[in-house]
């Protein structure tokens, strides 16, 4: 008789979720990822609401990636009404989004993931022994927050990104200040890569069938926006066809619907971006990629953490480049008028933890239809499979060890459980 191994409330993730592993004499019988958050009905509550008001609340799906939600919803809305932002405005939206990437990756890696590897139950306990690491985490997090403060009005739930552009742009002096501080944290981002390169990456969890999905970067700029989705099996599809290739299904053993691509679970996130688009990296990130290519394993979800570290370097460098371009074009008009024509638009972008889908229909200036699929909703199926692989390997070990390894597997995905549950169709 085996007692099920349960983690009621997975710590150090965003949102409330649990893990249940049932074993018998033969091995692992059942693995479940349980979602224990309350519903928020984001799609349903915004239907019939004014577009600008709905756009103000979409970021509230999730705080860790509020800029991602805001900017993806904005792009879907602007596509729906037939508006295209000027290139310099798009660059500044990229910069705001990058602020989110840097903050989210820094928080996840140092505060949520690192304690496991170093044997702590929380990041605050690491302060005495790992002073430098905590300082770097804070500095990286702070520059991400500041970028969002300046471009988006604040680090959580940005109100300054609006239809047509921005309410107000930072001053030239603020851009220069951002650039100076980004340059200061670049070595810290590089240190993060070195640090995570040294950690044990749990190579034992190998998934030969792993399929990765990421956007095909627009204008060949590695990162966030794209009009096509690239799959690691070589297939590509336009974002408008998302429903054909990101298929949500009810599975017997889970309360949340799982996402499948050609009947198989797939992964999204930093490692998926690297697997599909590493050839577009440049600068220091490219050098580090070449140096550590072997650690960026496509078949191991733990490589996601290492990919995030590499992306920290890339996004810091990319942010500096955007600021240089912006200052070269200065002054920049902050906003264009947008006429609210009726229409339908789909935007899929790369949120810090992977693909984020917004499909919006606008009618008479109001939201008439809304569909949101978040990265964690897409990753749930493969996350569960990898917890199972981990459990199959360690089911006879000390239950506490298995619990930790199962939690670490989930944390490797940087899941946003609030995101996934509030929008996934159960």
């Amino acid at each position: 008789m085996y007692i099920p191994i349960t983690v009621d409330h997975i710590a150090r993730v965003e949102g409330k979720g649990g893990i249940e592993i049932v074993t018998s004499d033969e091995g692992v019988k059942e693995v479940k990822l349980n979602i224990i958050e309350g519903p928020r009905f984001f799609e349903a509550i915004t239907i019939g609401k004014k577009l600008d008001e709905a756009l103000a609340i979409y970021p509230r799906v999730c705080s860790f990636c509020s800029a991602a939600h805001k900017l993806t919803a904005l792009e879907a809305a602007e596509k729906a009404v037939g508006f295209t932002p000027r290139p310099e405005i798009q660059d500044l939206r990229d910069l705001l989004y990058i602020g989110d990437m840097i903050e989210s990756h820094a928080l996840h890696l140092y505060l949520l993931v690192l304690p496991d590897y170093l044997g702590y139950s929380n990041p605050l306990a690491m302060v005495d022994k790992y002073k430098k690491e905590i300082e770097y985490a804070m500095a990286l997090k702070n520059i991400g927050s500041k970028t969002m403060d300046y471009l988006g009005s604040r680090a959580i739930h940005q109100e300054n990104a609006i239809l047509g552009g921005f309410g107000k742009l930072p001053t030239k002096r603020q851009f220069e200040e951002l650039k100076r501080e980004l340059k200061e944290v670049l070595p810290m981002a590089e240190y993060t890569v070195e640090l995570f390169a040294k950690l044990e990456q749990y190579k034992e969890v190998k998934d030969e069938e792993m399929v990765h999905m990421a956007v095909k970067p627009r204008n060949d700029v590695y990162g966030i926006y794209g009009d096509y989705i690239k799959v690691s099996d070589g297939f590509e599809f336009p974002v408008e066809d998302y429903k054909k290739y990101i298929v949500e299904k009810v599975v017997e053993h889970s309360f949340a619907k799982h996402s499948f691509y050609k009947d198989k679970p797939f992964m999204v996130g930093a490692i998926s971006r690297i697997v599909n688009n590493a050839d577009l990296l440049y600068g220091k990130a490219k050098e580090l990629y070449s140096q550590y290519k072997d650690l960026l394993r496509y078949d191991n979800c733990f490589a996601n953490n290492f990919a995030q570290a590499l992306e920290l370097v890339y996004f810091v460098e990319r942010a500096i480049d955007i600021i240089d371009d912006t200052l070269a074009k200065w002054p920049i008009k902050e906003r264009d008028e947008v006429e609210l024509k009726d229409g339908f638009g789909v935007s899929i972008t790369e949120a810090p933890r992977g693909l984020l889908v917004y499909a919006l229909e606008v009618k008479d200036g109001k939201v008439n239809y809304a569909d949101i699929i978040t990265p964690t909703a897409m990753n749930l199926a493969i996350m569960e499979r990898h917890v199972r692989l981990m459990a199959e390997k360690h089911w006879q070990d000390d239950p506490e060890k298995l619990k930790l390894l199962a939690e670490m597997t989930v944390r490797a995905y940087d899941p946003c459980i609030s995101c996934s549950v509030h929008v996934v169709k159960l």
Binding site: H9, I10, A11, R12, E14, G15, K16, I35, I36, E37, G38, P39, R40, F41, F42, E43, A44, I45, T46, I47, K50, E53, A56, I57, R60, V61, C62, S63, F64, S66, E103, L107, L111, L112, P115, S121, N122, P123, L124, V127, M138, N142, S145, S153, R154, A155, I156, H157, E159, N160, I162, F166, G167, K168, V250, F255, S418, V423, K425, L426
Partner: protein, 262 residues
């Protein structure tokens, strides 16, 4: 305080933004020699909701029957309960769809499926337990946390904010978005403390800190102003309800304007 103060941070249904704001404060590190974290799942693997605490921070709206039980338990175990953010204080943006009713919302998003928790329409924490102090905002500002925590740590009690965002906007010298640009800014009735953050970016306030308390929120006079600008009653109510859907005065005060005017 000679002994370390025991702190708990609890999440109901939310975006986790209030905790994230708290976790992102560099000042939290300075707090460590003064406080023990008994429960805070976002950062502490060793968290336990059953432990006694001196200060309980609760974020999120009560949106399941399980969360009703949780807030009651927190109240029993905590000396001071602080409702943190728009969800805990006002039911959050998830209450915006309140008029549609739980079953309609459920059907639209989840179809005919059922889950093991018992869903409820989102409600403020205060509906179920006594709340001692509130940190307004979606999310609250860092200084809101620092002020409350600092005050409690020296054994004092923080003042509540009883004036609107407009005051801070005037002090900053921002142009008035309502009067000069004609946009439906909710600054006149929203609790201050954000330093008029959004109007400072030329963006109209959407009221994320909720309406000023003590029954002085002037839904009626602002509704009159909006009405003069051509907004319909429905438009006014929708906007004011984004963060105030549970306010008992709102509808009555807005209705008054439209009845008198007709």
């Amino acid at each position: 305080m000679s002994e370390k103060v025991k702190i708990g941070f609890y999440a109901l249904t939310s975006c986790y933004g209030c905790q994230l704001q708290f976790a992102m404060m560099d000042e939290v590190l300075q707090l460590l020699d003064k406080a023990n974290i008994e429960c805070w799942f976002m950062v502490e693997r060793d968290s336990d909701e059953d432990r006694e605490v001196d200060i309980a921070f609760i974020e999120g709206s009560v949106s399941t029957e399980e969360e009703v039980e949780l807030v009651k338990k927190i109240r029993e175990k905590a000396k001071i309960v602080i409702a943190v953010g728009s969800c805990a204080i006002h039911g959050g943006v998830q209450s915006w769809g309140k008029d549609k009713g739980l079953s309609e919302l459920w059907k639209k998003v989840y179809g005919e499926s059922h889950v093991k928790f018992e869903p409820k329409m989102a409600e403020p924490v205060e509906k179920y337990i006594k709340v001692d102090y509130k940190l307004y905002g979606c999310p609250p500002e860092k200084k809101d946390f620092l002020y409350a925590l600092g005050t409690f740590l020296v054994g004092s009690w923080p003042e509540d904010i009883d004036y609107p965002v407009c005051v801070e906007c005037r002090i900053k010298g921002n142009p008035c978005i309502l009067i000069e640009k004609g946009e439906p800014c909710l600054g006149p009735l929203t609790v201050a403390g954000c330093d008029a953050r959004c109007p400072g970016f030329n963006v109209a306030c959407i009221g994320c800190r909720g309406a000023v308390g003590y029954d002085v929120a002037w839904f009626d006079s602002l509704a009159l102003e909006f009405k003069k600008k051509g907004l319909t009653k429905e438009e006014i109510l929708e906007r004011m309800k984004i963060f105030n859907a549970h306010n008992p005065k709102l509808e009555e005060m807005v209705n008054k304007i439209f009845e008198e005017g007709e």
